[in-house]
């Protein structure tokens, strides 16, 4: 985390270092809420997934969801973090219409997970460690809709009470790029662990970004917090704007005020948040409805033993055992779905060939169609089937690419397409010889040139014969036979 020269901001009076910390709210993957049996699915009709506990009706008591606790422990272990055997739920008190109890159940002094770390990779190949300060469990609030009526706010409590993990980083990042890499990496780890679906568009992951500036190496400056950013791009946008705003403010003789801000995503600027944040005084105290949360060693040990292979370990294995380049391995492990897809295809096949196909034709088609791996019309088994036909010589490389495009359009198996369209590679030398004889007969001038010493023209003949065979001739065989005919004797 040393100040890398390129990360400094140039001000009128010299250089400034940006200091960034992230608080990420990740929705726990669970069927029901943290303290009630209401459904957590996204997109249900308003107030259809609300228990009377979530609506804070008098006399309702919270009962903790076992799986939500396990998910927090699993995440903590995945982040290499300390698991606290005893943690305590507190009430965070504030008034807002989408918080029916007037308080949020959260963890303040004694969170379930303590310090851990995340390794990030940057574009120039540097890696860096970002410290995790803590992870705690808390309830989400409901949703306020301000644009449905001229003078009323509509409230939907479906989200109220859904379990969130708040993951707080240390102020270890020094540029928007580092913050973006951290958020992407954290998201990948959560998705590998299966503790959060990582769907930022649906709000399953949101980030609050703390930004301050200082002279390189000096004491920390005053920070601002830009809230509720639901994409990597918005996080980067907020940091760029906020860092520049603070530098200009200080250099103009002003002072940064500690405050909460919002990003105007249309204009790419941040502005101070009003009303809600006035008088931050949450008066935390232990929730008398909930006993301390005590974790059993057996449960922690079981979860530890069940942890899946995480991206860093997977990447190292791809390099060491499959012989992939570090870059290719990094691309393949970045998303869990891609890694799963790759591994399914690569099982029993040559890993480098598979990696080239996945990252080349497969990614290319997905990008052109705007699809994710999960939505791919070609399954891993189908791509494997195509590669088998290529491997056993049934089709040529060129035909394979053509077949893959058809597979992507129709979702059919490679073999079906190859058989229907008669694309089987011709390895019968008499058939190929007939084609060669025709091409030679049509181009006496070039034949003469070759015999006069221009050996390189053989390549041109290979191309002509391949064309005449509609790409189906076995190119090695064509090459061999042509050389025999044109260069021999």
């Amino acid at each position: 985390m040393s100040a890398n020269g390129q990360d400094l901001i140039q001000g009128a009076s010299g250089e400034w270092e940006v200091v960034i910390g992230l608080e990420v709210h990740a929705q726990v993957a669970s069927a029901s809420k943290l303290f009630s049996g209401a459904d957590t699915s996204f997109g249900a009709p308003p107030n259809s997934q609300v228990s009377l506990v979530d609506a804070a009706m008098p006399g309702m008591l919270p009962v903790i969801n076992r799986i939500c606790v396990e998910q927090a422990v699993r995440t903590g272990l995945g982040l290499g973090a300390a698991i606290n055997r005893v943690s305590i739920f507190d009430r965070k008190n504030y008034f807002y219409p989408d918080l029916p109890a007037g308080y949020q159940i959260s963890q303040f002094k004694n969170p379930i997970v303590g310090e851990g770390e995340v390794e990030i990779e940057l574009a120039d190949g540097r890696t860096q460690t970002v410290g995790i300060e803590r992870l705690h469990l808390e309830q989400d609030a409901g949703k306020s809709l301000h644009d449905q009526h001229p003078n009323l706010t509509y409230v939907d409590l479906n989200r109220a009470g859904v379990a969130l993990m708040e993951i707080v980083s240390k102020p270890d990042m020094r540029s928007a790029e580092e913050a973006g890499a951290y958020l992407r990496k954290l998201r990948a780890i959560l998705r590998y662990l299966g503790t959060c679906d990582g769907n930022m568009q649906e709000g399953s992951m949101r980030a609050d970004v703390n930004v301050s500036v200082r002279r390189p190496g000096a004491e920390l400056g005053t920070r601002t917090e830009t809230k509720n950013l639901n994409s990597v791009r918005f996080v980067e946008q907020a940091i760029h704007y906020e860092a520049r705003r603070q530098v200009d403010l200080i250099e103009g003789g002003g002072q940064v005020v500690q405050q909460t801000r919002l990003l105007d995503t249309e204009r790419g600027i941040t502005r101070e948040m009003r009303s809600k944040e006035e008088a931050h005084d949450y008066r935390y105290f232990p929730d008398p409805d909930l006993l301390p949360l005590e974790l059993e060693e057996e449960m922690i040990a079981r979860i530890r033993s069940e942890l899946p292979e995480l991206p860093d370990a997977k990447r190292a294995r791809y390099v060491a055992e499959l012989g992939l380049s570090d870059y290719d391995a990094g691309v393949l492990v970045a998303e869990k779905e891609t890694a799963d897809f790759f591994e399914t295809v690569a099982a029993g096949r040559e890993a480098k060939t598979v990696a080239n196909w996945v990252m080349g034709d497969f990614f290319g088609q997905l990008n052109r169609s705007g699809l994710d791996v999960a939505d791919s019309p070609v399954s891993a088994a189908q791509l494997g089937g195509l590669l088998d036909l290529l491997d056993d010589g049934t089709i040529s490389q060129r035909i394979a690419k053509q077949v893959f495009e058809t597979m992507f359009q129709s979702g059919e198996d490679a073999r079906t397409i190859v058989e229907r369209e008669g694309l089987t590679q011709v390895s019968d030398s008499s058939e190929i010889e007939a084609l060669i004889d025709t091409v030679i007969a049509e181009n006496p001038d070039r034949v003469a040139e070759i015999r006069g010493g221009k050996d390189k023209l053989v390549g041109w003949f290979v191309g002509q014969v391949m064309k005449a065979s509609q790409g189906k001739a076995n190119p090695q065989l064509v090459n061999q036979l042509l050389r025999d005919k044109l260069l021999a004797g």
Binding site: G37, A38, L52, D54, I67, H149
Partner: protein, 95 residues
């Protein structure tokens, strides 16, 4: 420990309780004497005693992760001050 009028005004606002100006003096006296009474606890030596989060020595019992509640917007909205479709409708809080 004494609670002055400004503090009473502030905590009343945080708790969204309406307190008239002339009530502040009396409340400040009452709250101060309550706090002073509780402060007697400081006389007990708590060196090496861990903070207590609960007087109940049971452990927190979890529930299984099953959906067995919700699905009844009418019950949830029954006491709503105003209801539009299946939403609570409240005075506008603009950000």
């Amino acid at each position: 420990m004494s609670v002055d009028k400004a503090t009473v005004r502030r905590i009343a606002h945080l708790a969204r309780i309406g307190v008239e100006e002339e009530e502040l003096e009396g409340l400040s006296g009452e709250l101060s004497s309550i706090l002073n009474w509780i402060e007697q606890l400081h006389e007990v030596d708590t060196e090496n005693v861990p903070p207590l989060a609960s007087v109940n020595h049971a452990t927190l019992l979890p529930r299984e992760d099953v959906v067995n509640d919700g699905g009844d917007p009418d019950a949830v909205l029954a006491n709503a001050p105003e209801r539009h479709d299946d939403f609570f409708a409240v005075p506008k809080v603009v950000e």
